[in-house]
């Protein structure tokens, strides 16, 4: 059995949360992982108080990149901007709760990279 395809990862991959395009996004960005052809678009709606009121993603890619986008957007909803900006790769790995090999790190971190460029 492949460790990285945990129930939670596969569940987020097949039934992603926050998938689609939100209305009135204040920030958006797209990033690609050219090696594997993954891509993620992120839409963020930031409130006046710099809180992430709403966040969503579109895109295609492997189970890891898509599940990571689903879980990360879920995690960030309602959080302050500063917290989103400070997220580290380690926090993503903790969120995913699986061992990420160096080859898959780019997949796992694609949504984080996209969120950071949206907020940059």
């Amino acid at each position: 059995m492949s460790d990285i395809y945990s129930e939670i990862i596969l569940d987020h991959y097949k039934h992603p949360h926050n998938r689609g395009k939100i209305k009135h996004a204040t920030h958006k960005a797209q990033e690609d992982n050219p090696l594997c052809g993954d891509n993620i678009k992120i839409y963020i709606k930031l409130s006046d108080k710099k809180i992430i009121e709403d966040i969503s993603f579109e895109g295609e890619g492997c189970a890891i990149s898509q599940a990571s986008a689903s879980m990360l957007t879920e995690f960030l909803k309602g959080k302050p901007l500063e917290q989103a900006k400070a997220i580290t790769p380690e926090q993503i790995y903790d969120l995913l709760k699986i061992e990420i090999s160096p080859a898959r790190a780019k997949c796992a971190l694609l949504s984080l990279k996209t969120i950071k460029s949206a907020l940059a």
Partner: protein
């Protein structure tokens, strides 16, 4: 015709007898093949017995090394049936070989407004250099598309070749994604009829198809040692002597000169004028053993053996209705490379699960993004066969596929 026994052949490749690789199924041969012991021994032997720089030393050791290096040039010429060894240039890989041609042809033979034809089957190595030169120098780059059956659209080629000022056609003899083998003979014939030169990228075909550059009548042919059981670090350019003579050098420096004065330099003759600096001598020397290895097995035997496996792999994949095979239906029009996609499972996830089963396959765009976008997919998973692969490997692939379906059915 003797039938090759892949199990016996596998024993000739030390990597498969290492404890950590005991169960390895290696199906990424289109990326790089494994090396037989004869090639590894030749590298060791060179460094232990003949190590010295070439074309310089007056002493015996250097003369021996020079002879071994030049013997490989001679052997390479025979291997692809070039007219003479002076038509063989050593580079570091196919990409450098194509860049050598892209730069020198663009400098001297092509002019603003000239057309270059390439195809959407090309590896980025045979696409990006031409696209870049076209932008830099004002050439017009046309791309022959693939049809829905993954063969080249020859009607479109015919249309493009009839355009004004077509001066160069750059085409792969075998696709690294679909395995497609274009009708090179017709393409070369038509190109020559309109006065265009033809550069054939043989990186994928060289280990699977008999290559005769004189019969093919291509003007240039490029390939790499590492995709044909030889060392990394050796690329080859074949060019018709009269054309190479007309081209300027590519890189400048030592070894590519006859004489240097403060005000001017007289360059060396073909092919040495294209080989500036110290080449990867040991790798070139050992490359000869790789060609000998292929000739001992017989390229036709190799081809039969690999295509037999490719056919069985296609038949196996076809029994799984979720799998879509990205390869010409008629296997005679393609080599032992099989790309496939599975609905709702990304190729990366396929390769990951295969890896857990000790099966090495490639997943990605295979350095051919234009083809991927043409096919409307981000990536494929790819199996590519060589002579040490066995029917058991295909059974292992099927088991891995079943595991994959199990995981993603949850």
């Amino acid at each position: 015709m003797p039938i090759l026994d892949p199990k016996k052949i596998k024993e000739l490749f030390p990597i498969f007898s290492k404890e950590e690789n005991k169960n390895l199924v290696y199906l990424d041969n289109a990326s790089t093949t494994q090396r037989p012991k004869v090639v590894i021994d030749a590298l060791k032997n060179f460094y232990e017995t003949y190590n010295s720089n070439i074309h310089r030393g007056i002493y015996d050791l250097s003369e021996k090394a020079t002879k071994m290096y030049e013997d490989t040039r001679e052997y390479t010429a025979k291997f692809i049936n070039a007219k003479s060894s002076e038509e063989i240039i050593f580079t570091k890989n196919t990409t450098e070989s194509i860049n050598l041609l892209a730069y020198t042809l663009s400098d001297d033979m092509l002019q603003k407004g000239d057309r270059i034809i390439t195809t959407s089957l090309e590896h980025h190595a045979n696409f990006v250099p031409w696209q870049t030169m076209a932008k830099k120098k004002g050439f017009i780059l046309s791309v022959v598309p693939v049809k829905d059956d993954y063969t080249l659209d020859m009607d479109k080629f015919e249309e493009l070749i009839k355009e004004q000022n077509v001066k160069l056609v750059c085409i792969s003899a075998m696709s690294n994604v679909t395995g497609t083998i274009p009708d090179i003979k017709t393409i070369i014939k038509r190109a020559h009829e309109v006065g265009a030169l033809v550069m054939v990228d043989g990186a994928q075909s060289i280990a699977h198809e008999h290559t005769d550059v004189q019969e093919m009548d291509c003007d240039f042919f490029v390939f790499s040692s590492h995709k044909m059981f030889g060392p990394f670090g050796v690329g080859i350019v074949y060019g018709k002597k009269e054309l190479l003579d007309k081209l300027p050098p590519f890189l400048y420096g030592g070894d590519m000169i006859k004489s240097v004065k403060e005000t001017c330099t007289l360059f060396n003759d073909t092919p040495w004028k294209f080989e500036a600096g110290t080449p990867s001598v040991a790798d070139v020397v050992a490359f000869k053993k790789a060609m000998e290895f292929i000739e001992e097995l017989g390229i036709e035997n190799i081809k039969n053996c690999e295509m037999n496996l490719a056919k069985k792999a296609v038949e196996m994949l076809e029994t799984h209705k979720q799998v879509k095979i990205i390869k010409p239906k008629n296997l005679d029009e393609s080599g032992p490379v099989i790309s496939f996609v599975i609905e709702d499972i990304h190729p990366h996830d396929i390769a990951e699960v295969f890896n857990k089963e000790n099966i090495a396959i490639r997943a990605g765009h295979h350095c051919n993004q234009p083809l991927m976008s043409h096919l409307g997919i981000p990536a494929t998973a790819r199996l590519s066969f060589s002579i040490y692969n066995t029917e058991e490997d295909i059974e292992r692939v099927e088991l891995a596929l079943k595991k994959l379906f199990e995981i993603f059915a949850k």
